[in-house]
């Protein structure tokens, strides 16, 4: 016997094979100290494995596991209930959608409210009741903006229409010379400035009134009346 064949015997022995040494093993063990050491250790290992008891679980571990598993498991519905759920839920969702669409189509549309007229400054002055609701503020701002735009454009048109007559009319194919125009001014510079000021007065008045209306609709922020009136 050699070391290789003795190793095969050793593995069979540890697999639960017979303890008796095969023929020639005793002579080999006397000559080979390595195999002799392995053989002695294997016998102690077999003995130790016999003494080695597998560690037992705590007595309450099973109950703990069962309660844990039962707690974590979700209750399963029966097959019939699952099928019913698979059918009923999509149908319910579809019915809700159809109902919502039908209601939306059949619902009478909200009547368009007439846009409130822009009040005259005198009326505005009498109307000291500020809009209480916050939602009214937005509408008031929109109305004020539209009023400013309308008044500004109208007044600008009127002012431009008046000043248009001040410009000299150009007639004929040849433009007049600059010396002729400068030599015979239609009006003095002061008079022209006064005319422009008087022409633009409606514009500035309208803008002032619009800004006053706008600030009037704002909620009070601690300004006094002088500041509000600019």
């Amino acid at each position: 016997m050699n070391c290789r064949s003795f190793n095969v015997y050793l593995q069979k022995r540890l697999d639960g094979g017979p303890r008796e040494l095969p023929a020639g093993a005793a002579e080999h063990l006397r000559d080979c100290t390595a195999c002799a050491g392995l053989h002695g250790a294997a016998e102690r290992l077999v003995e130790g494995l016999r003494l080695l008891a597998p560690p037992g679980p705590p007595s309450d571990l099973g109950d703990r596991i069962v309660s844990l598993v039962s707690r974590k498991r979700r209750p399963r519905l029966s097959l019939r209930a699952r099928r019913r759920r698979r059918t009923v839920i999509p149908l319910a969702v579809a019915a809700c959608l159809l109902l919502a669409i039908g209601i939306r189509l059949q619902w009478p549309s909200r009547p368009v409210e007439p846009r409130p007229q822009v009040q005259a400054p005198g009326d505005l002055a009498r109307n000291d009741q500020p809009p209480s609701a916050a939602s009214g503020l937005r509408e008031s701002v929109v109305e004020a903006r539209e009023a400013v735009v309308a008044l500004t454009s109208r007044t600008a048109d009127e002012a431009v229409g008046r000043t248009r007559g001040w410009l000299p009319r150009v007639s004929g194919p040849v433009a007049p010379k600059a010396e002729d125009l400068l030599g015979a001014p239609a009006r003095t510079l002061r008079g022209t400035a006064a005319g422009v000021t008087s022409g633009l007065a409606p514009v500035t008045d309208s803008a002032r009134r619009a800004v006053g209306l706008f600030l009037r609709d704002l909620p009070p922020m601690g300004f006094d009346d002088e500041h509000r009136g600019l």
Binding site: Q11, R13, L14, D15, G16, G17, P18, R19, A26, L29, A36, G37, L38, H39, G40, A41, A42, E43, R44, L45, V46, E47, G48, L49, R50, L51, L52, A53, P54, P55, G56, P57, P58, L61, G62, R64, I65, V66, L68, V69, S70, K72, R73, P75, R76
Partner: protein, 200 residues
């Protein structure tokens, strides 16, 4: 695959509490024993055992009834232990576990022998240790171990062979040897269960 396993699993899937208790009772000792051996920590082993059974019941629907149940369960246990060891390696090392019980009357150096075997087991690679414990302590056959670890039977035999050689080498170096010409009085005449032969 026994019909018993299949019917037990079916009952568990129906939510039968008694079947759940039966399944836990059938495997808890082996799962816990393996966890203790692989983790070297009893409290960790309890935690991992609970996790293992939670995973078992979550994955029970995916069990292939054409395959045996025990290797499937032990495979989950091995995987959980491997994951736990990986997580534990990033945490402080727990108190060393040397808890052991003697199954029979102790000889003079039995406690020392057991400690040496424990220490030798602890030094083994995880794969070697797993195979050694499953084979020698739990008596599972090569085929079941191979199924649990997802490795060929030849690989399992190789790992077991190497595990034994490493343990024998340590015992020899530590002087835990019996003289070859003097049969040890405590050693049996090779009864299968006592020498670690698989039970089935």
């Amino acid at each position: 695959v026994t019909a018993d396993d299949a019917s037990l699993v079916r009952r568990c899937l129906r939510g039968d509490a008694e079947a759940i208790r039966l399944l836990v009772g059938r495997f808890q000792s082996e799962v816990f024993g393996l966890c203790v051996r692989l983790l070297h920590h009893r409290q960790d082993a309890e935690d991992v055992t609970q996790e293992v059974f939670l995973r078992i019941f979550r994955a029970l629907r995916g069990w292939d009834p054409s395959r045996p149940l025990r290797p499937w369960v032990m495979g989950i246990a091995v995987n959980r232990c491997r994951t736990w060891l990986g997580q534990r390696s990033r945490r402080p090392e727990p108190v060393d576990y040397l808890h052991e019980t003697l199954a029979g009357p102790a000889a003079d150096d039995s406690a020392e022998l057991l400690q040496e075997i424990q220490a030798a087991l602890a030094e083994l690679r995880l794969e070697y240790r797993t195979v050694f414990v499953l084979y020698h302590e739990q008596g599972q056959p090569y085929e079941d171990i191979a199924a649990a670890l997802g490795r060929p039977v030849g690989t399992i035999k190789t790992w077991l062979h190497r595990a034994r050689l490493e343990i024998l080498d340590r015992l020899r170096r530590r002087g835990m040897v019996a003289p070859y010409d003097t049969p040890h009085p405590e050693a049996p005449a090779a009864p299968p269960a006592e020498s670690g032969r698989p039970r089935s």
